[in-house]
């Protein structure tokens, strides 16, 4: 029998250091007596090691995983195995690179007549262009994310895919709060792009969600994780378990649209 979606997420949280001491103890007690959960632990160790080697974990996750599971004798064996498996993958051939002159020669040879026609058109565009091709104002791209806590951990459900274009002015992301977590009066959000983390303030919030706005100028294509912290009246903060994952990509790479997608 397979483990539940929630258990898969919990095991990942356990291995990536996202559980409190009490939660860790509870999951370990279950591991001692539940076969499915223990099997899930072993599978997740393999997968996370693979993700670690492929640099697909957030920076804090990498650090924890390396200093804990990968520091154990079993973890080290798993790490070496994953690297060895990687060595056996066929290499992706690099595209042949021509210098600029070779590329220009090839282009002119093929498109001689088109070049002549386009030169005339270019003259028209130079004169009329500024009036015709005014750049549209930057757009705000909005979408909603749910926490990895309690979600299915299969890869295709993990990262919400969002387009990043030159016209994107900002991302307006609504983070749905997981059930059962303590609501706060204020929140801090941490954006992790796998090389650095950036602290952001909540733009707005209600009983079930927090909205964060991220200027697109600071973003590029790739994988991102958002983490949510509740700010307490005494000045301390508490991490809300789970993460909000999204991937930014050019519209050409984006295939099927997501049902939660909205634009303004």
């Amino acid at each position: 029998m397979e483990s539940t979606n929630h258990d898969q997420a919990r095991i990942r949280d356990y291995l990536l250091g996202r559980l409190s001491d009490e939660e860790q103890q509870k999951i370990e007690e279950r591991l001692m007596i539940e076969d499915n959960l223990f099997n899930e632990l072993e599978v997740s160790k393999c997968e996370l090691t693979e993700e670690y080697c492929a640099n697909e974990l957030a920076q804090s996750e990498r650090r924890w995983f390396k200093q804990h599971y990968l520091a154990s004798a079993k973890g080290r064996q798993e790490h070496v195995f994953a690297l060895a498996l990687d060595l056996l993958k066929p290499p992706v051939p690099a595209p042949q690179k021509l210098n600029w002159f070779e590329r220009l020669q090839g282009f002119v040879k093929v498109h001689r007549w088109a070049l002549a026609a386009s030169a005339s058109a270019a003259l028209v565009i130079l004169v009329a262009g500024p009036f015709i091709f005014r750049r549209p104002p930057p757009t705000s791209y909005a979408f909603t994310l749910t926490s990895t806590l309690g979600r299915r951990s299969s890869d295709e459900a993990r990262y919400f895919k969002a387009p990043l274009t030159r016209d994107t002015g900002e991302l307006r992301i609504t983070l749905q709060l997981p059930e059962g977590v303590t609501r706060g009066t204020d929140y801090r959000i941490e954006l992790d792009d796998r090389s650095k983390t950036t602290s952001l303030k909540a733009a707005s919030q209600d009983a079930n969600s927090v909205v964060v706005v991220i200027p697109a100028a600071s973003l590029r294509e790739g994988l991102y994780a958002l983490r949510l912290y509740t700010l307490k009246p005494d000045g301390t903060e508490q991490l809300i378990p789970g993460e909000y994952l999204f991937e930014l990509m050019s519209p050409e790479r984006l295939t099927a649209p997501n049902p939660e997608q909205q634009t303004r």
Binding site: E2, S3, Q8, Y14, L15, Q25, E28, E29, L31, M32, I33, F38, N39, L41, E42, V43, K45, C46, E47, E50, A54, E56, R63, K66, Q67, H68, Y69, L70, A71, S72, A73, K74, G75, R76, Q77, H79, V80, F81, L83, A84, L85, D86, L87, L88, K89, P90, S154, D155, E156, L223, E247, M249, R253
Partner: protein, 183 residues
């Protein structure tokens, strides 16, 4: 806490405590030991087997008390003892927050040679599956695995479990080869 080796009599009592049937008791014993090793490795302990055996020895030394007083799942008692053993193991100094060294390239290459040979020894469907499962990167990898699962009429979860089982076979094969090459 007594961590000396148990007597044979104590060990036999432990097995009977786990199950009146000796074969089933042996299976439960092994299962508990593996679980303890799994928990210790998740916490980053180097000598997981040693810590698991120490935990078992402590429980075994208390077997007379357990037989008369303990009510509950035996595995949870083992876990309780294991937690204390873990805390004792880090008592002199807590583990430092430094990264352990990365595997050496020669170590990885040697393992890759054995892995290649072990892949050849796998039944072809398993070999093809594991090689195809690990093709591509990032988004293409995700799509590839989704297609593989659909082609094999497996859920995404069943596929990852199947591949993990094949990994286990490969690791056992590699371990045998490494032992063979070191003798």
């Amino acid at each position: 806490m007594n961590t000396e080796g148990p007597t044979q009599e104590e060990f036999e009592k432990l097995l009977r405590w786990l199950d009146p049937d000796r074969d089933k008791a042996g299976e439960k014993y092994q299962k508990i030991r593996n679980r303890l090793i799994g928990v210790f490795s998740s916490r980053g302990c180097c000598d997981t087997d040693d810590l698991a055996d120490k935990s078992i020895n402590v429980v075994t030394s208390k077997i007379d008390w357990l037989l008369g007083n303990y009510v509950g799942e035996p595995a949870l008692y083992f876990y309780g003892v294991a937690k204390k053993i873990y805390l004792e193991s880090i008592k002199p100094k807590p583990p430092p927050n430094v990264d352990p060294p990365d595997p050496q390239p020669q170590e990885v290459e040697e393992l890759a040679t054995h892995l290649d040979e072990c892949l050849e020894a796998l039944p072809q469907p398993d070999r093809d599956l594991v090689l195809r499962y690990h093709e591509f990167e990032k988004q293409e990898k995700i799509q590839n695995r989704k297609s593989l699962a659909e082609k094999l009429k497996l859920s995404r979860n069943a596929l990852r479990i199947k591949v993990c089982h094949i990994h286990s076979k490969l690791k056992k094969c590699i371990e045998l080869r490494l032992r063979g090459s070191s003798t």
